[in-house]
């Protein structure tokens, strides 16, 4: 196989294959989430859907890895040399670690859909930075580079998963206001009040174990007829199902859709303006800007619709914290490795180059999050907002330092 063939294969594996598989897996997982309460038939469909989604996820990860290998061999180097490659790898690590952690460490594979949706979007946006495979500038060509870059890229992917968890936490926390049994927002441990009247003690325990009070929250007259081994709740009566969907609607009403849409658009725009500045033509730039913003708004609306199916705020917040803790360590080590590489390559370990400053800024932002979470009166929602702001800073510095300010680091010039 020639290198041209490999390049062509890597292109196809990237789009449509991997992107398509990620979107498929994401939506099938999300569909499966809606089947956790329902008639026996729905529950059966849900089980099937989860199996299909898992298969699509594995297939997507496989083709993504194959894409990276094909691209690597097409250019005889690690595919971490430009914005496209870095962004694509970030999506790969985010999906692999996010889904792996949810599935194997936390047994919460029901949330995989959200991580996959984010991964699919990041991978899609990478297309805006697409560059054909090519060799690397010699100054970049040392083992320090893969070490430093892969740590930071992995951290970026995992921070992306944490961002998803924080966003879901905020949605769920807002939705909780529909749930009279919950106490103050952001409390570490919302007590699980007796669920729907009619749920027996042991049944209530099982539902409790599923860590979800919203489906059959107080007020709904649902009578669960059985609980599946995987925690799904069988409800047969029409009255009960109506009560459940009325409750779902009430949960969604707690979130102001307009604020969600405007906020998401503004948050996305605070980063995606870089594409307007950096594109060759202003039409292309505005096109990218609007595509990214609207895609993220659409994703936010999808997440909003699924609010009633989310696990408790404490669980989501815990997921965000654990993922950030892990990625923070990677980011710390990666930044130190970057300083060591700079000393090796340029003879100075720190030069306040825009990328170095950006890495430090991101690090400070996430340290701020960790402190906020440990501070009484700030933990909960405010800390989550700091976590979200930290992610905006991460993406902003990543794009600005590469596209707007040309420093020593930028792949653009040397």
């Amino acid at each position: 196989m020639t290198q041209q063939d490999l390049a062509a294969i890597s292109r196809v594996l990237y789009a449509p294959v991997t992107i398509g598989l990620y979107f498929t897996a994401a939506f099938v997982y999300l569909y499966a989430l809606t089947t956790t309460v329902g008639r026996a038939r729905d529950l059966r469909r849900g089980r099937l859907a989860r199996r299909v989604a898992a298969a699509a996820t594995i297939a997507g990860l496989t083709t993504h890895v194959a894409h990276e290998f094909a691209r690597g061999f097409a250019q005889d180097r690690l595919p971490l040399g430009n914005m496209f490659e870095v962004t694509s790898m970030m999506a790969l690590v985010g999906v692999a670690v996010g889904v792996g952690y949810l599935t194997f460490a936390r047994r919460r594979s029901d949330l995989n859909g959200f991580v996959l949706l984010a991964g699919a979007l990041v991978l899609g946006f990478a297309g805006f930075m697409y560059a054909e495979p090519g060799p690397l500038m010699p100054i970049l060509d040392t083992w320090w580079r893969p070490f430093h870059v892969s740590l930071l890229v992995s951290a970026m992917g995992i921070f992306t998963a944490a961002f998803v968890f924080h966003a879901l936490y905020l949605l769920r926390d807002s939705g909780d206001r529909a749930n009279p049994s919950d106490d103050a927002p952001g409390s570490d441990d919302p007590p699980h009040e007796p669920l729907a009247p009619g749920l027996g003690g042991s049944l209530a325990d099982r539902v409790d174990g599923r860590d979800d009070t919203l489906d059959v929250a107080a007020g709904a007259t649902a009578t669960a007829d059985a609980v599946d081994t995987d925690g799904a709740l069988r409800v047969d009566s029409d009255v009960a199902l109506k009560a459940v969907s009325a409750h779902h609607a009430a949960v969604r009403r707690q979130v102001s859709v307009w604020r969600l849409v405007v906020g998401t658009f503004a948050g996305a725009a605070s980063v995606s303006w870089v594409f307007i500045v950096s594109a060759d033509s202003s039409a292309a730039g505005w096109g990218r800007f609007m595509t990214i913003n609207l895609a993220l708004v659409a994703a936010a609306l999808v997440a909003w619709w699924f609010t009633p199916y989310l696990p408790s705020g404490a669980t989501l917040e815990g997921l965000a914290h654990r993922t950030i803790a892990f990625a923070f360590i990677l980011w710390t080590v990666g930044t130190i490795a970057g300083a060591m590489w700079a000393e090796q390559s340029w003879g100075r370990f720190w030069g306040w180059d825009p990328k170095e400053t950006g890495a430090l800024l991101t690090w400070i932002a996430y340290a701020g999050y960790l402190h906020a979470r440990a501070t009484r009166g700030v933990r909960g929602r405010p800390a989550a907002w700091i976590g979200i702001a930290a992610f905006v800073i991460l993406m902003g510095t990543y794009l600005i330092a590469n596209y707007v300010i040309v420093g020593l680091h930028s792949y653009a010039g040397l």
Partner: protein, 548 residues
């Protein structure tokens, strides 16, 4: 008194976590400014362009930015003040934390339960005596590095517990425990001092970092010097560097005095214009001859990512360019002869300036080297931006008048043509010359030069130490988790068997604690004999004979 009061108030303010959070926020904001606004120590030219209004948001905004010190954030008094506040806050925070931590490590004992656990614990039933069970539990927990305490060790005074967990539900803190109501038990805790200890090591690493940076600034040295291939190089002395930046405590006597000569410089590119990455450099390496003050000369090479290290001094290859040997003859007298170090510009043209004040009036040349300018069909050179010197061409503009050397501030690469007149221009290949109004300019040969950076940074091992402490502390700070476990035993009077109950709680990472507790229960069950409760085994199954 007022003074003391305000100091105390200030201290209390500094100790608060919210203060640290706020200071981190300000640090983040300043860093954001430094990312968005060009920094003078970094890119002085861009800053000048902003101030002149050629680039950036305009003169008015730039003037405001300059007033508030935004062009040099890390050198501004505000940044120094912030750093001071941050370190004060850090210190204020750490002193009580370290004290509490030492107390914790030395004295903390897991609190005993006063009553049999009420929440559903794991249960084991066994034929062993309660004393045996407690010994086994103690052993299991000990092997897993838990800090344990037994109710039968005779100390029922309240434990001198660290103040770490206000949330503790074990009601024994600071109070005497009634042996009569308290069940027989092994109480255990883990992660208490590793989590906090990690966090302390992490925070303490910032002092090492600060010290390394401050002393590094004082002791460091950095100099740059260009060397022409095959021509005499330079010696490591105070006077031989083109740019020279010693720290305050670095004196002339600290130079080692070795000589560096550039034997050969290797550079190549992807020359095929259709290949991917066309025009990118592929090789970038210098063969140098080093002559120590007392020792044998030796050959070494310096490449992009491979600096040469001599006695802790690093030599990096930073940049390179073409170096034409240019002679200027005025009325038969040679007024200038030497290599010119040209620097590449954005278009791939190597430019420089020759200043010959020995002529009267002064001669100045603006030089452009086009490394690859092959002859076209009409016999005239065709200019390309390619960097390889297969058909080099030199183009010059000749100026006469007053160079104003010493009178104005000027770059060595540019002429100040304010008081000069353009005589004309010409082009030539190596070995050729051009005469313009009695001035002969000769392009004798073309070589290359390499810009070396020499740096001495004694702070690097200390920075590595700070990094190791930082990461080494961060991992336990974020991954260790505080948890407590109680193994209580009770004799069942009728069946004369022993009921073991294992309860516990984690203050962080509940999700992995449960698995850990289950493991401990399994292990204990495998030692004392029976299956954990809830297994299909009937409760009355005979105990296994396994013992330790």
């Amino acid at each position: 008194m007022f003074f003391v009061d305000s100091v105390m108030m200030g201290w209390r303010w500094l100790v608060r976590m919210r203060t640290a959070l706020m200071l981190l926020g300000v640090l983040g904001f300043m860093t954001a400014v430094a990312t968005a606004v060009p920094q003078a120590p970094n890119v002085p030219a861009t800053v000048d362009a902003w101030l002149a209004g050629d680039e950036g948001p305009g003169v008015a905004v730039a003037t405001v930015l300059a007033t508030i010190g935004a062009f040099d954030v890390y050198g501004s008094p505000a940044f120094v003040a912030l750093l001071l506040a941050l370190y004060l806050s850090l210190t204020a925070c750490l002193i009580p934390r370290i004290r509490a931590w030492v107390r914790l490590v030395r004295h903390s004992r897991p609190p005993l339960l006063r009553h049999a656990p009420s929440e559903a614990p794991r249960r084991i039933v066994t034929d062993r005596s309660p004393g045996d069970v407690l010994a086994a539990a103690d052993q299991v927990l000990d092997r897993r590095h838990w800090r344990t305490r037994r109710s039968d060790d005779g100390h029922f005074d309240g434990p001198a517990n660290g103040q770490l967990d206000a949330q503790s539900d074990a009601q024994s803190d600071g109070q005497a425990v009634e042996p009569a109501t308290a069940p027989m038990q092994v109480a255990a805790e883990k992660g208490h001092w590793s989590r906090e200890g990690g966090s302390l090591v992490f925070h303490v690493s910032f002092y090492v970092l600060l010290a390394a940076i401050v002393f590094g600034q004082l002791l460091t040295f950095e100099g740059q010097r260009g060397v022409i291939e095959g021509a005499p190089g330079f010696a490591d002395t105070e006077v031989s560097y083109w740019t020279y930046r010693p720290g305050r405590w670095f004196g002339p006597e600290d130079h080692a005095g070795w000589r560096l000569d550039l034997e050969q410089f290797h550079v190549d590119w992807i020359r095929d214009p259709h290949a991917p990455g066309a025009g990118q450099p592929t090789t970038f390496r210098s063969d140098v001859l080093i002559t120590p003050v007392d020792g044998e000369p030796f050959l070494a090479d310096v490449a992009g990512n491979r600096p040469l290290v001599i006695d802790g001094v690093k030599i990096h290859q930073l940049d390179w360019g073409y170096a034409p040997w240019i002679e200027i003859e005025v009325d038969g007298d040679v007024v200038h002869a030497g290599f010119l170090t040209t620097v590449v510009d954005d278009e791939g043209v190597f430019t420089g300036a020759v200043k010959a004040p020995a002529a009267d009036p002064d001669v100045g040349l603006e030089i452009e080297i086009f490394p690859y300018a092959p002859d076209g069909d009409d016999g005239l050179p065709r200019l390309t931006g390619a960097p390889w010197d297969e058909a080099p061409l030199l183009i010059f503009h000749q100026w006469r008048g007053d160079l104003q050397l010493g009178a104005t501030q000027q770059l060595i690469t540019e002429l100040d043509t304010e008081r000069m007149d353009l005589v004309g221009w010409g082009f030539m290949r190596p070995g050729q010359d051009v005469e313009l109004e009695n001035v002969t300019v000769r392009f004798v040969e073309l070589r290359r030069w390499v810009g070396f950076q020499v740096s001495y940074r004694p702070q690097i091992p200390w920075l590595l130490l700070a990094s190791a402490l930082l990461v080494g502390g961060l991992v336990p700070a974020l991954y260790a988790y505080r948890r407590r476990l109680w193994v209580t035993v009770r004799s069942d009077g009728d069946s004369r068997r022993t009921l073991i109950e294992v309860s516990g709680r984690a203050f962080q990472r509940q999700e992995i604690f449960e698995a850990e507790r289950d493991e401990i229960v399994e292990e204990l069950a495998s030692i004392v004999g029976d299956q954990p409760d809830g297994s299909p085994d009937p409760a009355g199954a005979p105990a296994s004979e396994e013992s330790r």
